[in-house]
């Protein structure tokens, strides 16, 4: 067996290797990997020592005492009506069928393979809403990571992720636009322009350019808009899920 990679050693430390026995066997016989793993173990154990301030045993009760009076002024957020996403979901469904058809044709098994069982409309809607909500959440975190990152970190990882998100975003934006969902299309359009800008930055992006991208994300309140949109889609997804159980 070849040496364990750094990533495999980290996974092994956290007991998340698919085949831990193989790693254990290798570590028993490989001095080099043993030394590297011992150093990793020492460093991560060192980090465990950083303390968190003590809280009383009944801390949860204290939290509740402060919280309870505020709950009385806090109604549950209203879930928007079904009609809002209806047409948009259908358009996205059509677009996704094109994409999945393309992927299946390109990477899937031969034509003699059995066709998949058709899914119900409710199940399909739920899958679509989950997909769109996941896309919005991933976009939100990508932008948050960029907005909060240190200048010295550069854009390498942000660019790779932005590039992946652009293609999916384009699909959803076009579908929303075709379905006449102007406000949805508008937010997705803003998101897409920022994602493209991030993905297309040169490798030696300057601090000034980085700050300019961050300023734009702030000025347009893009993160807030995405969060609201994601929350609405999740609410719809949950409502559809409840209906399918009835």
């Amino acid at each position: 067996m070849k040496h364990l990679s750094d990533e495999q050693l980290v996974s092994h430390y956290y007991s998340e290797l698919d085949d831990p026995l193989e790693a254990v066997k290798h570590l028993e016989t490989c001095d080099d990997c043993q030394t590297r793993f011992a150093a990793l173990d020492r460093d991560l154990s060192f980090l465990k020592k950083a303390a968190v301030p003590d809280r009383p045993e009944d801390y949860g009760h204290h939290v509740w005492q402060r919280l309870e009076p505020r709950l009385k002024e806090t109604p549950a957020q209203v879930v928007p009506g079904r009609i809002v996403f209806r047409q948009w979901k259908l358009a996205v469904a059509a677009a996704l069928l094109v994409v999945t058809g393309f992927v299946a044709g390109r990477f899937g098994p031969g034509r003699e393979s059995p066709q998949p069982e058709p899914v119900s409309e409710t199940a399909r809607d739920r899958i679509l809403l989950t997909t769109v909500a996941d896309h919005l959440d991933q976009s939100q975190f990508a932008l948050l990571e960029l907005a909060n990152g240190a200048d010295s970190n550069g854009l390498d990882s942000d660019q790779a992720r932005a590039g992946e998100l652009v293609a999916a975003n384009r699909l959803y934006r076009q579908s929303a636009s075709q379905a006449g969902e102007a406000s949805l299309a508008s937010v997705l359009d803003e998101l897409e322009r920022v994602l493209i800008e991030i993905a297309n930055q040169p490798p030696d992006v300057t601090r000034r350019e980085l700050r300019e991208i961050r300023r734009r994300i702030d000025d347009e309140d893009l993160l807030f808009k995405i969060r609201v949109l994601s929350s609405q889609v999740r609410s719809r997804e949950k409502k559809d899920s409840s209906k399918s159980l009835l």
Partner: protein, 192 residues
């Protein structure tokens, strides 16, 4: 485990119906874990306390959107991490006019208080260690920091981290790995 999941589902259904007593049980169960995460993210006791309060308040507001198949703890972590990231963002904007501290300049472990007492020395060392770890954590991106805190201190699985941060499993795993690499590099002078 199945019993726990069933009781959790019952508790969530009660909370969704507006049952304060059921919500109190969730608050008392999860407050400490949320405080630990919030403190490790923000490095401020008062900010962490505020994040805990806001997390439960938002959870209560958004109780209708909780999905029965999800884990309550993961859902709360997600709200708390979002709250921490917002707070860090506001803090960064507020501090933008100040000269940034260069964490590279933080010195290696030297006991700065002259003391003959081993207990006092340990206290000083512990404080310096915590400060050093805080400085190193600040060098991570917010997602890396959250992923590392959830993995290393809260011992969440990759799947749990992915759900808490809205990432794919592979992205969550990568975020933890990148964080570990950066932390180790920054700690080289210390951890020897």
């Amino acid at each position: 485990m199945e019993v726990m999941e069933a009781s959790q589902a019952t508790a969530v259904a009660q909370v969704q119906a507006g049952d304060h007593a059921a919500f109190q049980v969730l608050v008392e169960q999860h407050s400490l874990a949320l405080f630990r995460v919030a403190f490790r993210m923000t490095r401020s006791e008062s900010d962490a306390e505020e994040v805990v309060q806001e997390t439960f308040l938002r959870a209560y507001q958004q109780r209708e959107s909780f999905e029965a198949r999800s884990n309550v703890g993961t859902w709360l972590y997600r709200i708390a991490v979002n709250g921490c990231i917002d707070l860090l963002r506001k803090r960064k904007r507020h501090d933008a006019h100040l000269e940034p501290l260069d964490s590279d300049e933080v010195s290696a472990p030297v006991l700065t208080l002259a003391s003959s007492s081993p207990a006092a020395d340990r206290l000083v060392y512990s404080a310096q260690l915590s400060q050093r770890v805080a400085n190193v954590l600040e060098r991570l991106s917010s997602v890396e920091r959250a992923a590392f805190v959830l993995r290393h201190y809260e011992e969440l699985s990759t799947e749990g981290i992915a759900q808490s941060l809205g990432l794919s499993n592979s992205a969550a795993k990568q975020a933890v790995f990148r964080a570990v690499q950066k932390m180790r590099k920054a700690l080289e002078p210390w951890a020897r």
